[in-house]
């Protein structure tokens, strides 16, 4: 049943003109970022007295393409996922969904998977740009894959956060705003503070390790745990109305 909900959510996103528009704009933005990064790299090569190594291109692309992409998703994911539950409330579907013979976990996890897969499809399209380069240039695939994995985990966490905020609100835009503000504050905290606790709490700080090519199990556990906690909160929230004694 979780799969059915996920497929349904994917269909809902694929039917939404806003999702298509957002996906199109993201592709445009990612393409522009990519070309800009490659062009600047070529410029650097011409200026440099020595040849810049090809593995340097991978690092350059991660810093100037994948890292900005992750920041863009801090805005895009809240906008793409704000409707996940708040949209059901706004469209008067919520009570019907609550009355279906579904567990809250099936419902919330299904929606999360559907929304995450949609965003992964957008990421997959933009990685085609990297694939084109890899035909002629020997890129550092391991480094790129590690950074890519971090990006995917980062997107999953923002999706879970937006889903949770969406379950709290009747207005999708409020969920988007709350999610964006939370992520922005954590990002700023990680960027400007040397505080260990803030560094630990910020998804951006953990993503940074992936972007450096470090596959640290602590970072993986952090993303999985935070996503799991947010989904559990979403499940509790969904059951708060229909299960006696439940609250959130």
């Amino acid at each position: 049943m979780t799969t059915q909900i996920a497929l349904h959510e994917l269909r809902v996103m694929l039917r939404s003109p806003f999702a298509w528009l957002a996906a199109g704009l993201l592709q445009l933005l990612f393409g522009w970022l990519f070309l800009s990064a490659v062009e600047r790299y070529i410029g650097l090569q011409a200026v440099a007295t020595q040849q810049v190594s090809e593995s340097g291109l991978s690092s350059y692309l991660i810093v100037h393409f994948l890292a900005p992409v992750s920041i863009i998703f801090m805005v895009a994911t809240p906008l793409l996922c704000m409707h996940l539950i708040a949209g059901d409330k706004q469209a008067n579907r919520y009570n019907l969904l609550l009355s279906l013979p579904l567990s809250a976990a099936q419902f919330v996890v299904g929606k999360f998977i559907g929304a995450t897969v949609f965003q992964y499809l957008i990421v997959a399209l933009s990685t085609l740009l990297l694939a084109i380069l890899s035909f002629n240039i020997d890129l550092d695939i391991t480094h790129l894959l590690t950074a890519g994995a971090g990006l995917l985990l980062f997107i999953a966490t923002i999706t879970a956060l937006t889903l949770f905020y969406s379950s709290l609100s009747n207005r999708p835009i409020l969920a988007a705003f709350a999610s964006f503000v939370t992520m922005a504050l954590l990002w700023l905290a990680a960027a400007t503070s040397g505080n260990g606790l803030l560094q630990f709490a910020s998804p951006s700080a953990h993503l940074h390790s992936f972007m450096q090519g470090l596959l640290d199990s602590r970072d993986v556990i952090y993303f999985v745990a935070i996503t799991g906690i947010l989904l559990t909160l979403g499940v509790w929230r969904f059951d708060a109305q229909r299960v006696r004694g439940a609250s959130l």
């Binding site: 049943m1 059915q4 349904h8 269909r11 809902v12 039917r15 939404s16 469209a91 008067n92 579907r93 009570n95 019907l96 969904l97 609550l98 009355s99 279906l100 013979p101 579904l102 567990s103 109305q241 229909r242 299960v243 006696r244 439940a246």
Partner: protein
């Protein structure tokens, strides 16, 4: 989780077995409050073959902060029943329907559907419920057929039967012409039909319709009435409405809710029977049990403390006056009324709070004629 096939083999609780306590619930839904009560209508009810119980709600209560939204609502719905849920705006109708559909858990009380208690075994109990909210619960970007397929899957109709179920419901709800249309582009009447179709696609034992007539034109209204009246005798329907004529046309029973209290649960036939008379009574110092003990009483509803609407078989003003006098009751005013529900609503409209909130007494329904 039970499968549909398992649900079909669920032994049904009959009215008789329920009364004798075999239903596994201590509640008694059917009480005879008067030994004198042996009216023709009651005799007719006794001769009818017992219908299985489709749903039994017991003592449903819900409080939001200081507001009591539902207060001890109890009723039994038999297979074949169409129960009209009436009440003024804010009476608690939609909240009650949400509680009965499993979309909202009340603070207290139980809802028994077949072998399953809705709040203890929710997934299995919800399989037997179809729910159409007051505003169409639809995905506007989806085509009619896609939306029905999604609901059929969620309602756990076996894959091999989904196509047949969709075709059947499209035919029943006259959606053939718009089956491939995007729901958001349909008129509100058609959207309401889609809303109804999703509720009946899995042939639920209990169909819960929250103001289904909203947005329908007169022709669609007639079609909707026909649809509800042609449901299987194994099914029961709860139908909320503001329209008394609508309830009169579609339902065989009425449950009147006021400020979260069930103040009337009666058969429509008994209320509208020309042999029955209805009186608007104001008494001094009378309680529920004294009214319930009146011989020939069909239905009684307390509007305020000491203010009643009573209906009885072959009851005349003189007869009622004498009966009350013999019980030591002092009548303040007594008016014979022609239309029970109309008058009752007018009286309720002029009352801001239900009787027991003003008087502090316990409030309970003393209606006797609760049989279909």
């Amino acid at each position: 989780m039970k499968t549909d096939a398992q649900e079909l083999t669920t032994p049904k609780i009959t009215r008789k077995s329920y009364q004798s306590g075999k239903a596994g619930n201590n509640a008694v839904a059917w009480t005879e409050s008067s030994s004198d009560w042996n009216t023709p209508a009651r005799a007719e009810q006794k001769q009818q073959s017992p219908a299985p119980i489709a749903m039994h709600a017991e003592d449903l209560s819900l409080r939001y902060g200081p507001n009591q939204i539902l207060a001890g609502i109890t009723f039994t719905l038999y297979c074949g029943d169409t129960l009209g849920l009436l009440g003024l705006n804010g009476a608690g109708k939609s909240t009650l329907l949400k509680a009965l559909s499993g979309a909202m858990a009340p603070d207290g009380g139980t809802v028994q559907i077949g072998d399953n208690e809705l709040y203890q075994n929710p997934l299995a109990a919800r399989m037997d419920i179809g729910y159409a909210p007051d505003k169409p619960a639809i995905y506007p970007e989806f085509r009619v057929i896609e939306f029905l397929k999604f609901i059929a899957t969620m309602r756990r109709i076996p894959k091999s039967q989904i196509k047949g179920a969709i075709e059947k419901v499209i035919e029943r709800c006259n959606l053939g012409d718009v089956r491939q249309r995007v729901i958001g582009n349909l008129s509100s009447g058609y959207q309401q039909r889609v809303n109804l179709a999703q509720a009946i696609i899995h042939t639920p034992r209990v169909l819960i319709l929250d103001e289904p007539a909203t947005g329908l034109d007169p022709v669609q209204l007639i079609e909707m009435r026909d649809l509800v009246s042609t449901l299987s005798p194994d099914q029961a329907t709860i139908f909320s409405s503001h329209s008394l004529s609508e309830v009169n046309a579609v339902c065989n029973r009425v449950l009147l809710v006021h400020s979260g209290h069930s103040i009337l649960d009666s058969s429509i036939d008994l209320l509208s029977n020309s042999n029955n008379s209805t009186f608007d009574l104001k008494l001094e110092g009378c309680n529920d049990s004294e009214i319930a003990a009146l011989p020939g009483l069909v239905a009684a509803c307390r509007i305020k403390s000491n203010h009643w609407m009573v209906t009885g078989t072959s009851m005349t003003a003189a007869h009622l006056k004498a009966m009350l006098a013999s019980r030591g009751q002092k009548i303040v005013t007594m008016t014979k009324t022609e239309n029970y529900l109309d008058t009752l609503f007018r009286q309720l409209g002029s009352t801001e709070k239900p009787a027991q909130e003003q008087s502090g007494e316990s409030h309970h329904d003393v209606s006797n004629g609760v049989s279909p």
